[in-house]
């Protein structure tokens, strides 16, 4: 299966009301009086958010008027272009050059960080890289064991300390170990935290600083892991995490559920953060690089 097909099939596993209605709406015929209102409703029900939806629809309205578009079919491609344009990242982050590369995963509790860390390890391992996982969640009970089991399944090295230890110190050691062993990619898990907790965000910033001190330029990527079922709060998450340490992008998990990730559109529209990968299940291989066009095509197909 190619990328597009994988994507479509994972989306097709459940046709959510959102997609169904969107398809129904853009299937054909003329744009009538409440077309735009319906469109607003559909976007909002897909978690795109009131603000982004109203902006998007009003822009589309103007464009459609300017281009004298009156039928739904033409409008459909206009909409697709618009969403793609929002989702497309201005510039993809350059592929890793220096060794080791360190990728840090952050996010709220239960968003899927640990599982995603394991998936990423599998992803880079499949590319032939020497990968190391760091059990940076030293707080939650058995979080270390969780990643340990994954590291065995994936077959990559794990750096861990005991539960309750200082995560900054752990990352300091992990960087040293990676340097000594010629590790190419370090993937760091962190404890889940709500973005409005001052002390926990400070702790994250400390991890960030300690890593940077021991490995100049690192962490090379800080990725916010966002659950696709999250509503508007994801925007606040992205903002606040980005304030604590500069994010390079997002990974959207649990897209195999019925939530269709409209929140991605909102986040992209409001913040300059690219979506890097999507998670589509609980297995190692359930991770796919995010592609705006594919996403939009699958969404509107």
């Amino acid at each position: 299966m190619n990328k597009l097909e994988t994507f479509k099939s994972s989306l097709a596993r459940s046709k959510s009301g959102f997609i169904e209605r969107l398809n129904f709406l853009i299937r054909g015929g003329d744009i009538d009086a409440d077309f735009y209102e319906q469109l607003e409703e559909i976007l909002i029900s897909g978690d795109v958010g009131v603000h982004t939806t109203l902006n998007l629809v009003s822009e589309l309205k103007n464009e459609a008027a300017a281009k004298k578009i009156t039928d739904r079919q033409t409008f459909r491609s206009l909409l697709a272009d618009k969403i793609t344009a929002i989702l497309i990242a201005p510039s993809q982050p350059a592929e890793p050059e220096t060794i080791p590369q360190l990728i840090l995963l952050v996010g709220v509790n239960g968003s899927g960080k640990t599982t995603t860390a394991a998936k990423l390890a599998g992803y880079y391992k499949a590319m032939g890289k020497k990968v190391m996982l760091v059990a940076g969640d030293t707080f939650r009970a058995a979080a270390i064991e969780q990643l340990e089991i994954w590291s065995e399944r994936v077959g990559v090295e794990l750096i861990r300390q005991h539960s309750g230890s200082d995560p900054s110190a752990l990352f300091f050691d992990a960087v040293n170990a990676a340097k000594a062993r010629g590790t190419e990619v370090i993937i760091g898990d962190t404890a889940g935290r709500l973005h409005n907790k001052y002390n926990l965000m400070e702790e994250l910033n400390k991890i960030y600083r300690v890593i940077g001190r021991n490995l100049p330029g690192a962490p090379h990527q800080v990725i916010l892991v966002v659950d696709a079922t999250t509503g508007q709060n994801a925007i606040s998450q992205a903002k606040k995490f980005n304030e604590a340490l500069p994010l390079s992008g997002l990974i959207l998990t649990k897209l195999d559920g019925t939530a269709r990730g409209g929140i991605v559109v909102a986040i992209r529209a409001l913040l300059d953060l690219p979506v890097l990968f999507v998670g589509t299940g609980e297995m190692i291989e359930d991770l796919a690089p995010f592609d705006a066009e594919t996403f939009t095509t699958a969404l509107l197909d």
């Binding site: 459940s14 009131v50 709220v108 939650r140 009970a141 990643l147 509503g231 559920g257």
Partner: protein, 450 residues
């Protein structure tokens, strides 16, 4: 109290100041604002639609009474209806007809079932129960171990067996509880997607085997529009008796609460408000209503404050506040008490945005160092300065900075914060006179600190 929504409604209904009735047109304009507020809070759009239809009727022709401005009047109606819709107060667990209570936790991945299981056990321990925690999640790596560690931490019994299937585990756990007279039995099931037929069947099988007294759906408070799909699917497939809302210590408005309540008809029984094991609380619909509308969680804040403060001091303070005699010494006392309630950040997060809490205050982080410095600054002031900070001129500021080992900027910042606070209290005081704090006061009884 006077949130973004209230303000918006105020300006929408400005022409109505004074007495009169809300016309259909006014109500429509107000309903649009309410609709947007609810959608922004992540209440499902269908639920919003039904809700708006229901309250519209009540609002049309409503008297705009006495001191209340029309915007607040509408907010009041909305708040009341939301509270009603969110149902019965502080949910209780169903009793067992015979044998132990069996509480089964179900939900999507990552919603917080495992930590909630332990919190619920701790909650029930506090009322003298002897719970058994059963790990029925054999899928997520480390899940059973997580529950085991948590059970050790709270000194509750634990049952798990990774070699068995979840139904067998639950049956064995329940049997063991019967034998050892553990009560209740709390079953932590694996997170699953409501689309996953096989996994949903597993829940049905467990339910059939152990006949739980409660099946509680654990829902992440940050969930968006999809909350209705998951909740109704779980309810249809398994049948739930209640809901636990988690992660409410975040800054989410938590509209999912309304959505899941509306589509399942099941009461929200508990809420999770922190990562600590004792941070599970009974659900109060009135507080949730205010929160969804962006009016903060004033009431739980007041309750927390009540629990932490010295009663007589609080009464004294209340008088001072209302008479606007709040000094820097009181400010320091307040900080001391605040620290026993929780972090300032937690407290400010419970307050509605735009309550009149100045931005400076929201941003003020009260960590140990900051606190020590504030204490030192106030400690370096003379009695007169503390009572009337307006006399603190440039040279006094320099002296205070020197004396406290801080700098003039810090002194300035503190004085500024204090001035803001005074201003806020002044507003509150005048509201008090207008009787708008009556309802709130009834609940707070003892002392309202912020």
């Amino acid at each position: 109290m006077f949130s973004g929504l209230a303000e918006k409604l105020q300006s929408t209904l400005r022409q109505l100041r004074g007495k009169g009735k809300l016309s259909e047109k006014d109500v429509d304009a107000a309903m649009r604002e309410i609709r947007l507020a609810l959608l922004e809070a992540d209440v499902n759009f269908k639920v919003v639609k039904d809700f708006i239809t229901a309250i519209r009727e009540r609002a049309v022709g409503h008297e705009v009474m006495g001191s209340l401005t029309p915007g607040q009047q509408v907010v009041k109606i909305v708040n009341e209806e939301l509270t009603k819709l969110m149902g019965d107060k502080a949910g209780v667990l169903s009793a067992a007809r015979k044998g132990p209570q069996v509480i089964m936790l179900v939900g999507l991945q990552g919603s917080g079932k495992t930590s909630t299981a332990a919190k619920l056990a701790a909650f029930l321990q506090r009322s003298g129960k002897k719970p058994l925690l059963v790990a029925a999640d054999i899928y997520r790596p480390g899940a059973a171990r997580q529950l085991e560690i948590l059970s050790e931490k709270i000194g509750a019994a634990f049952y798990g067996n990774l070699a068995d299937n979840p139904t067998q585990i639950c049956r064995a756990g329940a049997a063991w509880a019967e034998k050892e007279s553990f009560d209740p039995v709390i079953l932590d099931t694996a997170g699953r997607l409501h689309l996953d037929r096989q996994m949903m069947d597993e829940l049905v099988a467990i339910k059939k085997t152990v006949s739980p007294t409660d099946v509680l759906l654990v829902v992440d408070a940050m969930t968006g529009q999809d909350a209705v799909n998951a909740a109704s699917a779980f309810n249809e497939a398994v049948g739930i008796s209640g809901i636990i809302l988690t992660k409410l210590d975040g800054d989410t408005r938590g509209g999912a609460a309304l959505s899941v309540r509306a589509v399942t008809g099941c009461p929200i029984k508990f809420i999770g408000v922190g990562e600590k094991i004792d941070q599970l609380e009974p659900f109060y619909p009135d507080r949730m209503a205010s929160r969804i509308l962006g009016m903060g969680d004033m009431l739980s804040l007041i309750e927390k404050a009540e629990a932490a403060v010295d009663r007589s001091k609080a009464r004294e303070l209340e008088q001072k506040l209302l008479r606007q005699q709040f000094t820097l010494d009181d400010f320091k006392d307040q900080l001391v008490q605040l620290r026993s309630i929780g972090s300032l950040e937690d407290i400010l997060n419970m307050l509605p945005e735009g309550t009149g809490i100045p931005k400076e205050m929201r941003q003020m982080s009260l960590n140990e160092t900051n606190f020590k410095r504030i204490e030192a600054i106030i400690g370096s002031m003379t009695k007169k300065e503390k009572i009337d900070p307006s006399i603190i001129n440039g040279s006094r500021r320099r002296r205070i900075a020197m004396g406290s080992g801080t700098n003039v900027q810090e002194v300035n910042r503190l004085l500024n914060q204090f001035a803001q606070m005074q201003k806020m209290f002044k507003q509150m005081g005048s509201l008090e006179q207008k009787g708008q704090f009556k309802k709130l006061k009834k609940k707070m009884k003892k002392g309202f600190l912020f």
